[in-house]
Symmetry: C2
Subunit: 124 residues, 2 copies
DNA sequence: GTAATGTATTACCGTAGGGTAATATATCTG
DNA sequence: CAGATATATTACCCTACGGTAATACATTAC
């Protein structure tokens, strides 16, 4: 484990990244709730993506009745990426700092609300 | 361009990540110099990886005689990843901060020297 | 009980991508 | 000039992976 390739491969898929975004901004969600955000995909496809995400440790699931509630595991995400990020930290620390300043300048609450990406047709 | 999926896909391959590491720690290198670090891979394979990296904008090449000298393009790397990083910045800013403090505590010069994966050998 | 719902699993298809070998092209050397 | 060197390109194999449909399984509803 602690394999960078696996994590980058997980993040390489736009559907999985959007799933992470949804969990980050809305908190824990069921498979059906997540699937409803992807009108072009079949539910079992979302389930498969969730399996990948769970295998990678970046989400976890708890059963509630007949539905599975998935939630983000930010620590695993950070732990998986930070070693690689740290190697190149000098390169984007400046850019990240600028973004951070900009964000806390105007509101800071909606840094995670990139909702315009959520309902579109073709992912690319 | 500016496509997160493309960049994550590029980073998902361990050979390409190691190429980036080598360019980061040693500066510009020729294809042959890079290929000599991958005894299990054929040179044209490295060339193909370099094409991917160049298409993704994270490296650039300049011709010198009959060899191509590749160099890292850290700005493109940062520009491609920062938007996504910023969304989850709260999650690893702490971890990154700890690493940064640790690094500038002791020397700060060898943050990029994760040499354990790199087989240093005589280049001709 | 039976039926409906929510999710996971399986089987299968098509494409993308990493790997090699062979070939091509350009440049240097003798 | 011929031949060696450095890199790129092409053709091809094979595997991984995203997608679907069909099926299975558990849980709730009637």
């Amino acid at each position: 484990m602690s394999n960078s390739s696996a994590l980058f491969r997980i993040l390489a898929d736009p559907t999985r990244r959007l799933i992470l975004d949804l969990l980050a901004e809305r908190g824990p969600l069921s498979v059906g709730q997540l699937a409803s955000e992807f009108p072009d995909l079949v539910a079992s496809g979302i389930s498969k993506h969730l399996m990948s995400l769970r295998a990678g440790g970046v989400v976890s699931a708890t059963r509630r009745g007949r539905q599975q509630i998935y939630q983000l595991e930010p620590d695993a995400l950070a732990a998986g990426l930070t070693p690689w990020l740290a190697k190149y930290e000098q390169y984007w620390s400046a850019a990240l700092g600028r973004l951070r300043d900009l964000a806390q300048e105007d509101g800071a609450a909606d840094r995670l609300t990139s909702r315009k990406n959520v309902r579109r047709k073709r992912l690319k």
